[in-house]
């Protein structure tokens, strides 16, 4: 029981940055833009968050700085792909490479500098009981991620602005002809995605390992990008997917570290599960009769007004 609760706490920590970054990317892709620079924006957010946490010790300010830094990085991508209609795939990859190098440069004088972890959001009295700890013992970003799942779902499916965003992603020419600003909507979406990636990156020094290390996100930005497809662009499926990946990544380690019940499933199988799950989901999606993958129809295509 105690171990189960401990595992849940670790899973939540591992899943949260992936979920936050993927939620941002989901909104970006729903507007018809494919930004493969999530990993780079996360690293820029991570170093910005680290530096602010190191100098001010205020984790909320650190998260905000991560968001601002991620947003600034996303504007480079936005300018190139939206205003200049550059190839989105290539630009996104370039943004990842840029983010890796830039964060390493910015962080080069911050080695051997630990920071303090973000404290739990709620008072410790609520989280004294183990089950209370599992529910209420986390710091702000964990709850933020859950709230954002609902907010984004509500925004996309229940609000007029969300409908416009989806329209821009499904048929940019029609949205344009009705009079909506396709590029304006996409700029906002890209900036939102950048801010979310930045927050996700800042979670690494604030929640997981209170230090700066080059490439500390270690590929989790790519998992976030893949999860959006895995979740077929739906926020609640994204929540399930992020926690499934977090669970599997964590259980591999617990299975390796433990004996008894945990070693019933070999760690190699845990390690392989994300890939097996991805294949299964892709097969299920393509088995559907209407062959609809739910992908936004204009995903990855530059917008060039017809008239």
């Amino acid at each position: 029981m105690e171990l189960t609760l401990a595992i849940i706490i670790t899973v939540v920590g591992a899943s949260t940055p992936i979920l936050i970054a993927a939620l941002g990317e989901l909104v970006v892709e729903r507007s018809g833009v494919l930004n493969l620079g999530v990993e780079g924006m996360m690293l820029i957010g991570a170093i910005a968050g680290f530096v602010v946490q190191f100098h001010t010790g205020n984790p909320y300010l650190a998260l905000l700085s991560g968001a601002a830094a991620g947003m600034a990085a996303s504007l480079i991508f936005g300018f190139l792909t939206l205003s200049l209609s550059a190839n989105q795939t290539a630009t996104g990859l370039a943004l990842t490479i840029f983010g890796t190098g830039f964060s390493a440069l910015a962080g080069s004088s911050y080695s051997a500098r630990p920071v303090t972890l973000m404290q739990p959001l709620l008072p410790a009295e609520i989280a004294t009981h183990p089950i209370g700890k599992v529910l209420f013992g986390y710091s702000f970003p964990i709850y933020f991620a859950f709230v954002m799942v609902v907010v984004i779902w509500y925004f996309l499916h229940k609000t007029r602005a969300g409908l416009i965003l989806r329209a821009v992603g499904e048929n940019d020419q029609s949205a344009h002809s009705i009079g909506y600003s396709v590029l304006g909507v996409r700029y906002l979406a890209v900036m939102f995605g950048g801010a979310m990636a930045g927050i996700a990156g800042a979670c690494f020094p604030l929640l997981l390992t209170p230090q700066w290390a080059e490439r500390m996100t270690a590929g989790r930005g790519w998992i976030a990008v893949a999860l959006v497809v895995f979740a077929s662009w739906k926020p609640f499926r994204l929540l399930a997917g992020a926690y499934l990946f977090g669970l599997v990544m964590t259980m591999e380690l617990y299975a390796k570290a433990g004996g008894g019940v945990l070693s019933v499933i070999p760690s190699e199988l845990w390690a392989a599960l994300p890939y097996i799950a991805t294949v299964v989901v892709l097969v299920l999606i393509s088995l559907r009769r209407d062959a609809s993958t739910n992908a936004p129809a204009c995903l990855g295509k530059p917008f060039l007004p017809a008239n």
């Binding site: 401990a6 080069s108 080695s111 630990p114 690494f204 997981l208 390992t209 290390a213 080059e214 270690a218």
Partner: protein, 361 residues
């Protein structure tokens, strides 16, 4: 020039003949240019940081007689060959490939540049111009294991490994052999995470082990993440690896194994300058000061410090060797008879765990 079949055959033939020239005398030099290849970042506060400190040590001692260049974050694989060739073409006289996984690339590239001295750290494949160098990190592990044996309450230790290579296996074995000299029931659980540098994964591996009852953690990855988790969870302690990591966990670091490559790098650079460099196969440790121990943590009691110091000085004066039998493997079979010390060759190909190591899943 157009590449006709004839010139192609000529050039190819010449290239193929190059390695046949075999080992040749190196010329004396006015100035030596040294290239370093690191598998991670020089800011990792651990393994790569320590190698870079060695580079700075050489610069400090040789002044304007040396020029160094380094390449960070070089993946262990084909890309290493490209980096090696680039360093060679930039005029390096001496190239240090500082990670185990660079070995294949070094033995492939070195024959094409017979005038350049290559040295590969922690590897096993040498050549006419490929030397090997290594440090007896296991001596440091024996000191750490002694402390763990005295201080652990549960007698269960965790060990985060990168890959199950002899270097790592040897460290795990040395650690638990030393601990079991103090607490014969002690056990250690290795968890391999298949990477040298993924702080979040190192931290999660540490959490996974601490949640399952270990109270002392050691790691053979490049950063301080595991030590920080140990501090966060308030377990008995952990160890710095590669460098003194006490800045990250001042109360939790019991001691640290410090890689001190400077003297070796300096000796090689001076040999290249003098034209006397020959491919060596050095394996130095506490005695030669290539491995150092960090300061003992405040919570290590005096008698434990004394026990650890006895192990340290014993390894310096040669009276103590952690791999002296009797040693059983973790299936209970005797591997080393009483009084026999394992040879270096046996250690460098170690692929079995001693008693007390839980077989990694």
């Amino acid at each position: 020039m157009t590449l006709s079949r004839r010139t192609f055959v000529k050039v190819g033939g010449a290239a193929m003949a190059l390695p046949l020239l075999g080992s040749r005398a190196f010329a004396q030099l006015e100035k030596v240019k040294i290239g370093f290849i690191y598998v991670g970042s020089i800011n990792d506060n651990g393994y790569n940081y320590a190698h870079n400190q060695g580079r700075l040590y050489v610069e400090e001692h040789l002044g304007d007689k040396v020029e160094t260049i380094y390449v960070e974050n070089v993946p262990e694989g084909p890309d290493c060959e490209r980096v090696l060739r680039e360093l060679a073409q930039q005029g390096c006289n001496l190239i240090f490939a500082t990670s185990f996984g660079f070995g294949d690339s070094v033995v492939k590239v070195a024959p094409q540049f017979p005038d350049i001295a290559f040295e590969h750290a922690t590897g096993y494949m040498s050549g006419p111009n490929v030397g090997l160098y290594n440090a007896r990190f296991y001596e440091g592990r024996a000191v750490c294991g002694t402390i763990a044996g005295h201080m652990s309450e549960t007698g269960k230790y965790g060990y985060i490994g990168s890959f199950p290579i002899p270097e790592v296996v040897m460290g795990i074995n040395a650690f638990v052999l030393a601990a079991r000299k103090v607490n014969p029931d002690a056990t250690i659980k290795p968890v391999y995470i298949s990477t040298w540098n993924d702080p979040a994964k190192e931290a999660d591996a540490a959490r996974a082990m601490i949640d399952q009852g270990i109270d002392i953690i050691a790691q053979h990855t490049d950063g301080p993440a595991a030590l920080q988790v140990a501090a966060e969870r308030g377990i008995v302690g952990g160890f710095g690896q590669g460098a003194d990591m006490s800045a990250f966990a001042p109360d939790t670091q019991l001691t640290a194994i410090i890689d001190h490559w400077g003297p070796h790098y300096l000796a090689s650079a001076e040999a290249v300058l003098a034209g006397t460099w020959a491919p060596g196969d050095t394996w130095e440790g506490l005695k030669e000061d290539v491995v150092q121990m960090g300061p003992y943590g405040a919570k290590v009691p005096e008698d434990v410090v004394a026990a650890a110091e006895a192990v340290r000085t014993g390894q310096i004066d040669g009276s103590f060797h952690i791999f002296t039998g009797p040693i059983n493997d973790n299936t209970g079979a005797e591997r080393v008879a009483a009084g026999v010390t394992m040879t270096d060759a046996e250690l460098l190909s170690m692929d079995w765990y001693v008693e007390g190591v839980e077989q990694p899943a």
